[in-house]
């Protein structure tokens, strides 16, 4: 028991991050992140490598597979295993994301079917990282249908953050669309609601006492400091407050509508936004780690 650790957590995080980055660029391309946007490329470019790197890390977590890597090819075999589904989804997503990036590199319009296929596979990748854990009945804390929901929302949020950060540093054209912050506000708010629902479901007792003990570890016991500090305050409430304030001050700026004023504001918003994006990603990684570390088996292996 307790075989999975940091590598798996980082892998789950990178899986979600890559998928989220793809979807961020996809949303930007479809005009969902404002009319003027510079987010419509970098998410596509990094998504394939990030997910591929995550999957590569996973190899180092294998016991015999690390010594005899040719056995890994058999991981496509068992269709009743969620891990096998994941291998298919990830492989397909990595391929499509690289194809999409190739078209960008050649400055050609990728066929719409590629973009949409990639978006569906990205959603599936993000959902899979949660499904892998959610189907394990031996770990009551994981065995919740809200697990993939939390993971998908977190993936979208971290992916959007990464894409915004990268766009700030690597895109020549700089735009600060209020729309991005609004969407991110929605995502962070949804994640808080989903996480609250996740814990509410556990404390309702529907998953048994062991799940509650796991939840206690996070909320009040050994893992409570990273949970409240890194995940809740830095990763969720901080960004939520920032995006709310930004939406508010934006309204004021609109009313006064002084050009100087608005420029100043967006400059301040710039640094804050970067910090915020970093914080969202710290929260996302913390979430994966905490969920892995809080796993308790349905039976501890001793007679009561």
């Amino acid at each position: 028991m307790g075989h999975w650790g940091w590598l798996i957590a980082i892998y789950l995080f990178l899986g979600g991050l890559g998928a989220g980055a793809y979807l961020a660029s996809f949303a930007a391309e479809k005009g969902l992140l404002g009319k003027k946007t510079n987010l419509d490329r970098l998410g596509y470019v990094v998504s394939g490598p990030i997910v591929a790197f995550g999957a590569f890390l996973l190899i180092f977590d294998l016991g015999q597979g690390l010594k005899k890597p040719w056995l890994i090819i058999n991981m496509f075999l068992n269709f009743s295993s969620v891990m096998t589904w994941g291998i298919y989804i990830l492989s397909a997503f990595i391929c499509v994301a690289f194809i999409k990036a190739f078209f960008l590199w050649k400055k050609r319009q990728a066929p719409a079917v590629i973009s949409y296929l990639g978006a569906i596979l990205a959603l599936a990748t993000a959902a899979y990282t949660g499904m892998l854990l959610a189907v394990v009945e031996g770990i009551p804390f994981w065995n919740s249908y809200l697990m993939p929901v939390v993971f998908v929302v977190s993936a979208l949020s971290t992916g959007l953050s990464l894409t915004s950060l990268l766009a700030h540093f690597f895109e020549k054209q700089q735009v600060h669309e209020m729309r991005v912050s609004q969407v991110h506000l929605g995502l962070v708010a949804t994640e808080i609601v989903a996480l609250a629902a996740f814990f509410a479901l556990i404390y309702s007792g529907s998953q048994g006492t062991i799940a509650k003990i796991s939840a206690n570890m996070l909320l009040t016991e050994s893992l409570s400091i990273p949970f409240w500090l890194l995940l809740v305050i830095i990763g969720l409430v901080g960004p939520l407050a920032f995006y709310l304030l930004q939406a508010r001050s934006n309204k004021k700026v609109l009313l006064t509508s002084g050009d100087q004023n608005s420029a100043l504001n967006s400059e301040r918003g710039g640094i804050g936004l970067l910090l915020c994006d970093g914080a969202v990603m710290v929260g996302g990684l913390t979430l994966r780690c905490l969920i892995i570390f809080a796993a308790l088996p349905v039976w501890n292996g001793i007679l009561s």
Partner: protein, 219 residues
């Protein structure tokens, strides 16, 4: 600078958002339902028609000599912290000799990505083929009884295989053969399940995997 747009939540956007959320929910919830459905189908068909042998442990007869554990280790040479069979004891004097329970719905076999596990039709024994195992550890989480372990030396999982090779030649498993008081026996689950189950002293619900093992608690 910022192209300030008023927050306009058009009907179109609400519908779009709703559709997106719906898809996410569907993708995440559906597979759980599919898996659950699969399980019930299996329960309704395979379990009742196919033969399933299992262990019976009579706690009142057990003298806690651990012969079953020792003979298993001597025969299969597993590492001491990755045991195939254990004698569990508590301070109230209860005991339970347990190995893999060769479940009717083996969670290990369901999650294993490389199909290293197979369940024999002839007797329901769950056998793990270490030569196929990649050592991902998914089955260690899936099995509620802690039966599969990753052996340090090989990096592959190993677990009790009910001495299937001995059973094929007509003799019983070593642990059962060595038990001096016949506390540990085997039988057909059709008969054994009439005498008891494995829901005992904090053990996980037998509904999860339908284990092929019963315990007869001491009076």
């Amino acid at each position: 600078m910022s192209t300030n747009k008023q927050v306009t939540l058009s009907r179109r956007n609400v519908i779009k958002g709703g559709l997106l959320l719906g898809t996410v929910a569907a993708i995440s919830i559906m597979p759980i339902k599919v898996l659950k459905a699969e399980e019930t189908v299996k329960e309704n068909t395979t379990v009742k028609t196919k033969k399933q042998i299992g262990f019976s442990y009579d706690e009142g007869k057990c003298i806690k000599c651990e012969s079953c554990v020792r003979i298993c280790q001597e025969t299969y040479q597993w590492e001491s912290d990755t045991p195939w069979r254990r004698l569990l004891k508590n301070d109230k004097g209860n005991a339970l000799s347990m190995s893999c329970n060769h479940c009717a719905d083996p969670a290990c076999a369901k999650v294993c990505p490389v199909k290293a596990y197979s369940k024999r039709d002839s007797d329901g024994i769950v056998i793990h083929d270490a030569s196929k195992c990649v050592g991902c550890g998914y089955c260690l989480y899936a099995c509620p009884y802690h039966a599969p372990h990753i052996q340090k030396k090989t990096g592959a999982v190993s677990k009790c295989h009910f001495c299937y090779n001995l059973q094929d030649t007509g003799s019983g498993p070593r642990c059962v053969g060595v038990c001096p008081t016949k506390a540990l026996t085997i039988g057909d689950m059709k008969e054994l399940s009439k005498k008891g189950n494995l829901d005992y002293k904090g053990l996980p619900s037998s509904k999860i995997t339908n284990p092929s093992m019963i315990i007869i608690p001491k009076a």
